[in-house]
Point group: C2
């Protein structure tokens, strides 16, 4: 058995969000990431795997393929034994508790993947994204999140509506905010991180009173800003180490 023309068409289409939504499927690749997704509540649709990929998944869900076929369907430079289609899980209800990260228009898939991994490490309750943030089932996000996607609920919401409806203390990462090392942080909190180039939008800023900055220590004050993923790492560390 090998890949059918129709399967090939579906796999290729899943690099686009509209087709992921139509088919309710997304792509994950490589032994490690696929194994993590298999061992999670996520449900496998189909595995396209080399003969030497071992798994306990029932045989009717596995299509054995050649290295050449894998190379054809893979998004990776060095494909690693398996490409799998998983079902996009149903969104869970909002939790409104604990530490919540909100992302306003994050564009880069690598940044979103890294932030999902950070949320997992730091025990973030959920990750809320603006509707124009990159899709968490984008193949590059799936690879960069390295399985953390299965543990962190990600939701795409209208941020203005969401923020107006919550009573949790809300903070914004902002270059002009208060020094985070001298700020009173709360255990329950929403932390908003903004777009790579423009930060948090003015509409969202106007809804929030607490603004946090990470001070520069470099003598020459030229570094424009920290990358949003590294800034998220530092702020999450500050929130978590205090409690």
């Amino acid at each position: 058995m090998s890949i059918s023309k129709n399967q090939l068409k579906v796999i290729t289409s899943l690099s686009q969000k509209k087709y992921r939504q139509k088919h309710q499927l997304f792509v994950a690749e490589g032994v490690k990431v696929v194994a993590e997704l298999i061992n999670s509540p996520f449900k496998v649709d189909t595995l396209f795997a080399l003969d030497n990929f071992e798994t306990t998944i029932s045989k009717e869900k596995i299509v054995r393929i050649s290295e050449k076929e894998l190379q054809k369907i893979s998004n990776l430079k060095s494909p690693n034994k398996v490409l799998a289609l998983f079902k996009i899980p149903e969104e869970k209800p909002l939790q409104n508790t604990g530490l919540i990260i909100v992302l306003d228009a994050i564009n880069d898939p690598g940044n979103l993947g890294t932030i999902i991994r950070l949320c997992d490490w730091f025990g973030v309750t959920e990750l809320i994204c603006s509707k124009d943030t990159v899709d968490c089932y984008n193949p590059k996000v799936v690879q960069a999140s390295m399985g953390s996607l299965t543990r962190i609920p990600v939701k795409y919401l209208d941020l203005e509506v969401y923020l107006k409806s919550t009573k949790i203390t809300t903070f914004i990462a902002d270059m002009d905010g208060q020094n985070v090392y001298q700020s009173d942080l709360t255990k329950e909190a929403i932390l908003i991180m903004g777009n790579e180039a423009n930060g948090v939008s003015e509409e969202i800023k106007s809804l929030v009173t607490h603004k946090l900055s990470i001070p520069r220590f470099g003598e020459i004050q030229k570094t424009e800003s920290l990358n949003v993923a590294t800034a998220t790492a530092i702020l999450l560390s500050e929130f978590k180490r205090s409690f």
Copy 2:
């Protein structure tokens, strides 16, 4: 005037370290990064620029090229007006003071670029790399460091020799280390970060007594490790906020 065959050959060769060392040149691209490098002590060799790229660099160092030519020589998906060759600067003497980051076998150019940017933000005195760490003049490192490369001295040394010769208190980032939030950090310090997959090598570990870890807060203890750049961000934040 347009690109000569010989120039084309040199530019292409500079994606490899041995040719960067032979020619003592490296490539930087895009209006922003090139402008930062021009406004630094780094010396321009040649600018290959579209007609609409404005600069005060003397004309004999500029080769005006077409968009098609730029696309041919560029390493970027969306080339931005200019590709420049800069001279690799001479290494400065070791400073042996302040906060120093040591990298043991970092492979990923994006990680090194991000760490150089972090060193700049947090006022790190210098960055010491093992000889098998990715070259800081690799085009991807140059782009990811976004000009911070001009402010952070990067040196490639035999780490064992270096660490045996220094008296500065040395810390290793290590999964089995002491909780960084409960550790006594020092203002003058060397912090060693290890390879993406394997961490710090056993030879180096045996030379160092202080080991620091960033505790996991996630309930499900599956996240394998933090990315080395995000871990560096968190540890630098801890070192700097204390003093």
